[in-house]
């Protein structure tokens, strides 16, 4: 725990963490602003926090892997580039080093995903007070496109918490993926950017594949509740999927690091 706390403090003290957090908050602010200028004064739409949250989450879903990459993607690649990995491993062990890198990255990834979404959603709730039962979209859209519509309308703050946690679960997976990539690539840009490219690339490929099973597992849809449809399965499936993937990635990373020569 002492080593993990040191790693988290180190990650928290880097400018990359603050940049990632600021990026997330800017994306949320953009979502709120877009709602405000597009719908808030329109006679056609109701003024409610529901709509604003919906838009800010839409903005988030595309960019949040970049936030995570920025905050933790280079955590192993940086150690390899500087040579610090030699001293860290000699003073602990390969297994300990890998575990605290994985745990530290997961914690920071969770933080940079959860905090902006939660703050943005709360901002929406303050600026545009909740009007329970007001239709934000027509009934068909709400029922087919929206994640947990009942929670959305009747327990809005619970919905915000669930929405933040669901996207954060994907963030945890992407954080561990960054550590795994860092064990293969010394190039920090690859470790930072590759998870986002994979996320977006696979989403586009799956969406246009016209293969039902692939369309069922589109990462973009699974990571963000904003476009989540009840037809995609029970609500606990997306976060469980991401956490299982994070676990598998962690085990693979441990195996890779146990067998890898430290030549950096």
């Amino acid at each position: 725990m002492r080593i993990l706390s040191k790693e988290i403090i180190r990650l928290l003290s880097r400018w990359q963490f603050f940049a990632a957090l600021l990026l997330g908050l800017c994306i949320q602010a953009f979502g709120v602003w877009q709602y405000y200028t597009s719908f808030a004064h329109s006679q056609m739409q109701s003024t409610s926090a529901n709509q604003a949250v919906w838009l800010s989450l839409l903005a988030t879903q595309i960019f949040f892997p970049l936030q995570i990459g920025l905050a933790v993607g280079d955590t192993v690649a940086y150690d390899r580039t500087t040579g610090a990995i030699r001293y860290l491993i000699m003073r602990s062990s390969r297994a300990k080093y890998t575990v605290y890198k994985l745990a530290g990255s997961a914690a920071i990834a969770f933080c940079v995903t959860f905090v902006p979404i939660f703050v943005g959603s709360m901002l929406c709730a303050v600026l545009f007070p909740v009007k329970y039962g007001m239709p934000t979209f027509d009934g068909y859209t709400v029922q087919t496109m929206h994640f947990m519509p009942s929670l959305f309308y009747h327990h809005f703050f619970d919905y915000v918490l669930a929405a933040s946690l669901y996207t954060s679960a994907c963030g945890v997976f992407l954080g561990t993926l960054g550590v795994l990539l860092g064990s293969f690539f010394r190039n920090t840009y690859l470790s930072v950017g590759l998870p986002w490219i994979l996320y977006i690339g696979l989403s586009i490929a799956f969406i246009f594949s016209e293969v039902p099973i692939l369309q069922y597992w589109v990462p973009l849809g699974r990571a963000s509740v904003a476009i989540y449809s009840p037809a995609l399965g029970p609500p606990w499936l997306p976060p469980l999927t991401w956490l299982v993937l994070a676990g598998i990635t962690a085990v693979v990373t441990l195996q890779v690091m146990a067998r890898r020569d430290i030549r950096d």
Binding site: R10, S13, T82, A84, R86, Y87, M90, S92, A95, D261
Partner: protein, 218 residues
């Protein structure tokens, strides 16, 4: 189990099809100052990395301070300090903060006077300069400081004089002599034969991936 500080038996390491070290037998008794010299690419750093647990030999066994490293988890026991090639530190921290961070990773909680360790290698303890702004020589001195700060029983050094000015070379030579006199086992890898010969009890030479006995101080 062995009575030697380091015991290497039939170690072989290859990268893809290229053999780097082959049939290495090395026994370093406790308290010995052992030098390994050799030309660039002869495999001396690879051997030191295997002893430090950073590289995994393809075959053979390595034990350090009585603990089996390979075959095994490759985890170094307590009491080993090492400087392997150019030292790597966290660039946005000062030298003192880097040493504090490395100390926090050790499971054994020892009280270390970082200021005196930094002074012993010629660095100013009060200097708050971030390591990324350090010169090559200062980074090397900090690397030696992290290796010796916990009073190791075994010290592994790869080209410790690299990047040091003449005064620095003399200072580090005196420091190593003092550590040796106190009973620290030291393995030093270098291509400077004069330097190694002046300090070491026994000198080996790496030649084409093989280790041959070069001579003893006696």
């Amino acid at each position: 189990m062995t009575n030697a500080a380091i015991s290497v038996d039939r170690a072989l390491k290859r990268f893809k099809s290229r053999v780097i070290i082959e049939q290495i037998h090395l026994t370093v008794p406790y308290g010995q100052f052992c030098g390994i010299v050799g030309a660039n690419g002869s495999g001396k750093t690879t051997l030191l990395r295997c002893i430090a647990g950073l590289m995994i030999p393809n075959s053979g066994s390595i034990s350090v301070l009585g603990q089996r490293l390979f075959p095994g988890p490759g985890t170094l026991p307590e009491g080993v300090g090492a400087l392997i090639e150019s030292p790597g530190f966290i660039g946005n921290l000062s030298g003192t903060k880097n040493l504090e961070f490395l100390l926090s990773l050790s499971s054994k909680r020892t009280q270390v006077d970082i200021a005196s360790v930094l002074s012993s290698v010629g660095l100013s303890p009060g200097d708050r300069t971030k390591v990324r702004s350090y010169s090559l020589g200062m980074t090397q001195r900090l690397g030696i400081a992290q290796a010796i700060m916990e009073g190791p029983r075994l010290l592994l050094l790869d080209e410790p004089q690299y990047g040091l000015d003449p005064d620095g070379v003399l200072q580090i030579r005196n420091l190593l002599s003092q550590l040796h006199a106190k009973g620290t086992t030291i393995v030093m890898v270098s291509h400077q034969i004069d330097e190694v010969s002046a300090l070491c009890d026994v000198v080996y030479e790496m030649r084409g991936g093989h280790l041959v006995l070069g001579g003893t101080s006696s």
